[in-house]
Symmetry: C3
């Protein structure tokens, strides 16, 4: 019930996040000089991967399977990146689009998990997975070390956005407001990380550095 007020906004956010992640998947294929078919494959997996894992885990019908529009957006993204030679775009532009997609997907994923009756902690985990899993599969398939698992502030920003959304809902905020503050919090942290080159400290072992 409380969810329904925010649902149209969530769907717009969801579609936007799918499209942005699909573009990032196609760009990974471009970096690897792949074919148009691999462009499409990477765009689909990166675009819908995170939300697919979320839906499987919470027992929901997978969001893109019964319809054509989400896949269509992914294929369109792949085609546009190929035709427009989009790797000429400044990579910084992509980083900012990706930041928006991540912040949107973290809140959308958390909201859907809450609406399925999950407690706060697993709901936040679902938001983090939704925002990060597509990019992780993309990196594993492309054979690149996953930037998401480095010191960059990415998963942290997704976790912050998801946590702020849950906190706002628990404090009684209307879903639309909670969505705005959650997306803003995740995006702002990620934006600072991009603009200032912020990163988290890595683990410091106990002895002299052994190169394994």
């Amino acid at each position: 019930m409380a969810m329904s007020a925010a649902r149209p906004a969530l769907q717009v956010l969801n579609m936007a996040a799918v499209g942005v992640f699909a573009v990032s998947g196609a760009l990974a294929a471009a970096r690897a000089k792949q074919t148009i078919v691999t462009f499409a494959f990477f765009a689909v997996i990166t675009g819908v991967g995170g939300g697919t894992l979320r839906d499987l885990l919470i027992g929901a019908p997978v969001f893109w399977v019964g319809r054509s529009d989400y896949l269509g957006v992914c294929l369109l993204a792949a085609g546009l990146v190929w035709l427009l030679r989009a790797d000429r775009w400044r990579m910084s532009a992509l980083l900012w689009f990706d930041a928006i997609g991540m912040a949107a997907y973290a809140v959308v994923g958390t909201a859907k998990a809450l609406s399925f009756g999950l407690p706060a902690l697993p709901s936040i985990m679902m938001g983090v997975l939704t925002a990060s899993f597509g990019g992780i599969i993309r990196d594993v398939l492309a054979g690149e070390p996953s930037a998401l698992l480095g010191p960059e502030i990415y998963i942290s920003a997704a976790a912050l956005g998801a946590t702020v959304y849950v906190g706002a809902i628990m404090l009684g905020a209307p879903p639309a407001l909670a969505t705005i503050v959650g997306v803003s919090a995740g995006f702002t942290l990620r934006a600072f990380a991009i603009a200032r080159g912020l990163s988290l400290p890595g683990y410091r072992g106990s002895g002299p550095d052994k190169s394994d």
Copy 2:
């Protein structure tokens, strides 16, 4: 209803595809000089991986879980590759078996998705995933660069077979005929690619080649 006429043929195709992919998984383990246990593990994952992902996505009970025959075929394939030192077989023989399996799995996956009420585009996607996902996991686990993601015409052939099947069904063809033309189309394209060394053109970036 319309599916039921083609069902026995589809089940035979399905079991054949599982067996062929299980052999290819065991051969990957052989190349890596693995143990008999890893042979079995690779055979199972490669044999049933694609159909497993399809069933999870469309919300069907996973096809091999409630019975023993599919797993049995995979274990048998692993044992035979081990005992017969099957890597002595000419690899070209394997390529042809694999082409049959791919073409069969693409149509079987698409047909199952259609029978669950999916629209055309996601049904084709399911056929492509069914035909390719097992091989992709096999390559990731073996630490090999996935040949499926290179310029080789593989996913394209699966997509062609799936698309032809859907088109034939939409034009009112009986399922048995649609299956035959779909499998033939996918196999023929793949066969040309193997025999003539055809491949798709890779993406050409916009500037001088940067080695990332």
Copy 3:
């Protein structure tokens, strides 16, 4: 019905296995000098990954999703490894904890599959997947060659434990007894492998060694 007598013991074993695997995930993050966020991510994926795959395959609600305690144990494990600089612990201690977790998870996974009506062979496969899948994802994400896929006796020990459990149940043993002999069998084989450096023979190709 027959399961219910063993259920509390199985739940304790399950939680113990999740905790032990979460520690091993956090230690992998420590080896890679990762951040606290990646510690948490690796702990969760390694801790619950195997059981998650099992539940998706058998069509059960994913065990950790509707509650907070399993995720909480994983996050706690990540925090403790970080704070206590647990990589100073002797790695041999970890190996033994991991052996207990593997043996427990193999029997827990098999028992749950049997209780969902699966035949013997797929139930044993579920036990093996539950015990090994989390560690395999951990290794793939960390970019390490998966030790589980080498000559080490690991998957074999999980398969032995699962098979002994199924055999004992089929012979009419009460579930508590079957659990004890299954866990003991898997743990003992793994313990011998660790203590004596046992490993399985790798596949020997048919010709002179070709480096692919």
